[in-house]
């Protein structure tokens, strides 16, 4: 595989409320930031991730394109998924060998609707969606299948929110009260952008590129009854394909929107007790849907770009109860 690195990452200061910014207005500052940081004005390929249902109108990505100033016309694509998969598409495109740089971005304004109910609409429309399972109900089913201790779950939430308070981009959320294990992730608006560069260009753009040494994703059956909800077979398969276990993992940024998902993912990725989990605060501290997975990759990469770590892992998820998982290994 051709060597490709993350050379720049930017994210918005995420909010728990609608600030009135349109999606292009949300995206523009982070695009400008990664352009300034790399000095690149044009990219070989551009790919984004978003979801029309957050805005309740088709073609969210169309007006987002205006934020790019895509003129002259650019080579561009879009996934209706978390932008972690946009990064995957861009990484694949760079493997062809004819392009050296890619811009990836993702955005989500979850505040515009009722996110918990909207997530119901991604379920099988004939058999599951009519049951009215919302995001909290199916997360509850999984937490129950796992059977984790309430105190362990509460501790994950406390740690994540404390880390989030120390992260200028995440929300300032108070410690959870009591021992409520199933604390929902915050409803968050935000965006993020990443620049990928291949080979020599990466080393020219930064002294410490975050090389992508492994990148893989897998999906599982959709029906909750067809899976062992206490485990994530697809995350484990993706982790093995990405080579997570080939070396020590200093930091793992996991797309765990609920505390119990962190426990399932730690086991699937075979992370040891030495690995620091979600020092950014993770999705429990800021969860701009469709950018959250890309932010995990960006946060894991930034630690290498800053020289703080040598080997980090990032994870992104999609679908109900961690149905779809993507794992990235980054090395300095």
């Amino acid at each position: 595989m051709r060597e490709v690195a993350i050379v720049a990452f930017a994210q918005t200061r995420h909010t728990g409320h609608d600030t009135g910014l349109s999606e292009p207005e949300l995206i523009l500052p982070v695009i400008n930031e990664v352009k300034e940081r790399t000095g690149l004005r044009r990219f070989g390929f551009t790919c984004s991730g978003s979801c029309d249902y957050l805005a309740g109108a088709p073609f969210s990505f169309v007006s987002a394109l205006d934020a790019l100033g895509a003129w002259p016309p650019i080579s561009e694509s879009h996934v209706e998924m978390d932008a972690a998969w946009a990064l995957y598409e861009a990484w694949v495109r760079l493997q062809h060998g004819d392009l050296d740089s890619a811009l990836v971005y993702g955005f989500g304004k979850s505040s515009l609707g009722d996110l918990r109910t909207i997530m119901t609409l991604q379920l099988d429309p004939y058999y599951l969606a009519p049951l009215g399972l919302d995001q909290l109900s199916y997360a509850g089913l999984q937490a129950s299948a796992l059977g984790a201790e309430r105190e362990e779950l509460a501790e994950i939430v406390r740690r994540s929110r404390a880390d989030g308070r120390a992260n200028p981009y995440a929300l300032d959320l108070p410690d959870p009260e009591g021992d409520d294990g199933l604390v929902a992730p915050p409803v968050t608006d935000g965006a993020a952008a990443v620049v990928l560069a291949a080979g020599d260009l990466a080393t020219r753009l930064t002294s410490s590129p975050a090389w992508i040494s492994g990148l893989a994703h897998r999906i599982e059956p959709h029906y909750l009854g067809m899976r062992d909800l206490a485990r994530s077979a697809s995350a484990a398969d993706a982790a093995r394909a990405a080579g997570v276990g080939k070396g020590p993992v200093e930091v793992a940024e996991l797309h765990a929107q609920f505390a119990h998902e962190e426990i399932i993912l730690r086991e699937a990725l075979e992370l040891t007790g030495d690995t620091v989990i979600n020092p950014s605060g993770g999705p429990l501290a800021a969860n701009p849907v469709m950018a959250t997975g890309l932010i995990r990759i960006g946060e894991a990469a930034q630690r290498i770009l800053d020289g703080r770590n040598h080997r980090t892992v990032a994870h992104a998820a999609g679908g109900p109860c961690l149905q779809h998982n993507l794992v990235t290994v980054l090395e300095g």
């Binding site: 016309p73 080579s75 995957y88 493997q95 599982e220 959709h222």
Partner: protein, 382 residues
């Protein structure tokens, strides 16, 4: 451009107003199974699945790839969902090809669909983001002014659109999968239908279809059966609201064509491309795209159409399958163009086969004529 990639299987459903007999999952599986049968393979032989469709509001299912993973044999594999508006079917093929060309996978299943009967596409296209102007007129209302501007610039006479509508529908009579199969279709019949958006009459527009299309793509060592080799792939996008954008002949379309022709070694598209499957949802887009894609000089497209050059027996046949005008499951429409181009160079297009077709263009566009996806496929390796 990376490793070689070939189309080794094509599967389509019959396109029709309402497929009440199948769920969305049943619809996509039907196309996928046919593509696998064509390639002589099963789901087990597939390394990854790429799925495309137009806005989720068309069926009311958010990110349906999660629900469709089981039906497409994707469990345990990588699966991706592409969405680039009307061009999405083309982009889906290109993302699938990219996985092979980038050396990531050997066999990729690409599927695109729309089950428009589950919802109301014109309504879904007419809702808008807050603070944006909405014309509440669907796609035809958006494109009609651009067509009128084309007529003003080129002096094209009013009957050109009807010629395309008749030609594509006559071709559709030879395509068993086509949605609109209208016996006795002629210019008079088209002209007798109501004016929807001046100058577009009812029979100059595409239908709303249910349907799915699938392809199996393979690396060179993984080829089975009859391959259509991918000679070039390109995507281009431009902003919808840029002042000064030429919506009649968008720069992104010209750049995309130039890129894909360069890769495929095409310098004279009209002579070197034997058959083209081009995204023409409103009849007038044939002469407009003839110019945009460099098949003739600016202002000459309507003359080429009028001369009969783009007919099935003309010297540069366009939309031998009947095109988008005859079948329009929106999210799949682009992929159908790409798949029909592959069928032509594989010599497997049946009654609408263009004799001796060796090189074919697949084309899709979307959004406000701002997203483009194209590929050139050929009988021989390049």
């Amino acid at each position: 451009m990376g490793n070689r990639c070939a189309v080794i299987g094509v599967g389509q459903t019959h396109y029709t107003t309402r497929r009440r007999d199948v769920s969305i999952a049943g619809l996509v599986r039907e196309a996928a199974v046919r593509a696998l049968e064509d390639a002589g393979l099963t789901f087990k032989d597939i390394d990854a699945v790429v799925i495309g469709k137009a806005p989720d509001l068309f069926e009311g299912v958010m990110m349906p790839e999660a629900y469709l993973a089981d039906a497409l044999g994707a469990a345990g594999k990588p699966m991706m969902r592409v969405h680039t508006a009307g061009s999405v079917g083309g982009s889906t093929a290109l993302v699938g090809a990219s996985l092979v060309q980038g050396g990531v996978h050997d066999r990729v299943l690409v599927v695109a669909f729309e089950k428009q009967s589950e919802s109301n596409a014109t309504w879904a296209l007419s809702t808008h983001l807050p603070f944006n102007a909405s014309l509440v007129v669907g796609a035809g209302g958006y494109f009609a002014p651009h067509i009128r501007e084309y007529m003003r610039r080129t002096g094209a006479p009013g009957h050109i659109g009807t010629l395309v509508a008749v030609k594509d529908r006559l071709n559709a009579l030879k395509n068993p999968y086509a949605h609109l199969r209208i016996p006795g279709i002629d210019q008079k019949m088209v002209e007798s239908t109501p004016m929807l958006w001046e100058p577009i009459r009812y029979l100059e527009t595409c239908p709303s279809s249910d349907g799915a299309c699938a392809m199996v793509l393979a690396s060179e060592p993984a080829v089975t059966g009859t391959p259509a080799w991918v000679h070039g792939t390109a995507m281009r996008s431009e902003p919808i609201f840029r002042a000064g954008r030429d919506t009649v002949s968008p720069q992104a379309g010209k750049d995309c064509a130039a890129d894909v022709y360069r890769q495929a070694g095409i310098t004279d598209p009209r002579r070197q491309i034997d058959v083209a499957e081009v995204y023409v949802p409103f009849s007038w887009y044939e002469p407009m795209w003839l110019e945009n894609l460099g098949f003739c000089a600016e202002g000459e497209g309507w003359k080429l159409t009028e001369s009969g050059a783009t007919a099935l027996d003309g010297d540069t046949p366009w939309n031998a399958s009947g095109g988008v005008l005859s079948s329009n499951p929106i999210g799949a429409s682009g992929l159908i163009r790409f798949a029909e181009a592959a069928l032509q160079v594989r010599g497997m297009a049946g009654e609408h086969q263009v004799d001796g077709a060796r090189t074919a263009l697949g084309h899709a566009y979307g959004g406000g004529a701002q997203f483009f996806a194209m590929w050139i496929v050929g009988r021989e390796k390049l």
